[in-house]
Amino acid sequence: MLANYVPVLIFFCIAGALGIVLLTLGFVLGHGSKDAAKLSPYECGFEAFEDSRMRFDVRYYLVAILFIVFDLEIAFLFPWAVALDQIGLFGLGAMAIFLGILVVGFIYEWRKGALEWD
């Protein structure tokens, strides 16, 4: 069972090693002079006039919260979908109720304007 996952671990090691080798080569081979202007963050010809880690729109948080809700529903749907031919009509009915509740929540979000972006 776990032996099936050994190749994944090895793949991780090989891909990680490839990335580290490429990055190291880049740092070793690509050697240039550094100065203050070169190392400053890029902006359109201005001196940076405020901290870059600024406040941003709360909608991004909202999207993240909605994502967690829906992603959990999907995680719940997967085992149901795999076992569909064994659980029969009872399983279908149970999931219909669950999806119904989800859809009510979705319509509520929609009507409240949580999905608007302007």
């Binding site: 994944v8 600024m54 941003f56 031919d85």
Partner: protein, 358 residues
């Protein structure tokens, strides 16, 4: 594979079982990874050629015959470019972010079956594994944007992350439909569930809306045109990787193209029968090699979708951000929920791939 190795490697049979497993898996990984990286390299060349032709240009044609050595010239150039780490950045996260982006993009390939016999890791939760790893790519994007300490990078990272998570939901719902039809989370089993007469038993027919949603969400997930507001060069220069140069940028580039090819191989596996032949089960092709499942069919089908990625980029204008969010939340999610309900009714009534199961 075992017999081949025992002939090539001396003392093969004297190695312990664990060591044999490690060596065989490492060989499989290399066999998958080398063509994949070459594929990524020539995908960039092909992209420039196709877009060139669509715009009445020649595309790259100077390095090597017909420009065929261009990807290698690009790699060497990028290796010799200076990697600049900005003074105000968080140095550790800045260097680790490209790795966090590249490694999952490659490792996700472990669970993808290339033919009926070759798969690096034949795991029974393959689809969950792939969903998990494609989600990990967001960390690379967010960390790159935050660690750069640059306004454009931060804005690009926020846009990119919000877009990726929004489309991931539509993608996940579409995959629920695929799992319902395939009855397994193992990608090889999903392909085998599509066996039958020619193309008629592929999942693209009963799941057509999910197929469209999945592929378009895939384009949005990889931040490709027309959904490339995350790196919209006319507004925020290059988005989350604006501060990256040299090979650090190259790793993001590798990740993006490996992810694009991953989306195509997954679309083909879930909806178009993966490595199954379109001639299988037809009279007259019974013993022909054309009817046999093979890697050729997988790659052939992948080429169609890889071309679509480039075609979209050359022909569609960029979406506005609010349009992207509206498409993801208000169009794709309702479509997928409705189609899952339709599919459940098909299961209950025994229509389509479920005829004879209930």
């Amino acid at each position: 594979m075992e017999t081949l190795l025992s002939n090539v490697v001396p003392f093969w049979s004297s190695f312990s079982g664990d060591l044999q497993l490690v060596l065989v898996s490492a060989a499989k990984v290399i066999v998958l990874l080398v063509p994949l990286i070459l594929g990524v390299a020539y995908f960039t060349y092909w992209e420039r050629k196709i877009i060139g032709w669509m715009q009445n240009r020649l595309g790259p044609n100077r390095v090597g015959p017909k420009g065929l050595l261009q990807p290698f010239a690009d790699l060497i150039k990028m290796l010799f470019k200076e990697v600049i780490v900005p003074a105000n950045s968080n140095r550790f996260l800045f260097v680790i972010a490209p790795l966090l982006s590249m490694v999952p993009a490659f490792v996700a390939w472990a669970a993808v079956p290339m033919s009926d016999t070759f798969v690096v890791a034949d795991i029974n939760a393959g689809l969950l594994y792939i969903l998990a790893l494609t989600s990990l790519g967001v960390y690379g994007v967010i960390l790159a944007g935050w660690a750069s300490n640059s306004k454009y990078a931060l804005l690009g990272a926020m846009r990119s992350a919000a877009q990726i998570v929004a489309y991931e939901i539509a993608m996940g719902f579409a995959l629920v439909g695929v799992v319902m039809a395939g009855g397994s989370l193992n990608l090889g089993d999903i392909v085998l569930a599509q066996q039958g007469t020619s193309i008629a038993s592929w999942f693209i027919w009963p799941l057509f809306p999910l197929f469209l949603v999945y592929f378009i969400s895939g384009v949005a997930e990889t931040n490709r045109s027309p959904f490339d507001v995350a790196e919209g060069e006319s507004e925020i220069v290059a988005g989350f990787h604006v501060e990256y140069s040299g090979i650090a940028f190259g790793l993001f580039f590798l990740a993006e193209y490996a992810n694009m090819i991953l989306i195509t191989v997954l679309t083909v596996t879930f909806f178009l029968g993966g490595w199954l032949s379109p001639f299988a089960g037809l009279p007259g092709f019974a013993d022909s090699w054309l009817a046999a499942p093979s890697l050729i069919w997988l790659v052939g089908k992948m080429f169609i979708f890889m071309f679509c990625f480039l075609w979209f980029r050359a022909t569609f204008p960029r979406y506005r951000y609010d349009q992207i969010m509206r498409l993801g939340w208000k169009v794709f999610i309702p479509i997928t929920i409705v189609w899952i309900v339709v599919e459940a009714c098909m299961v209950a009534l025994g229509i389509g791939p479920w005829s004879g199961t209930v």
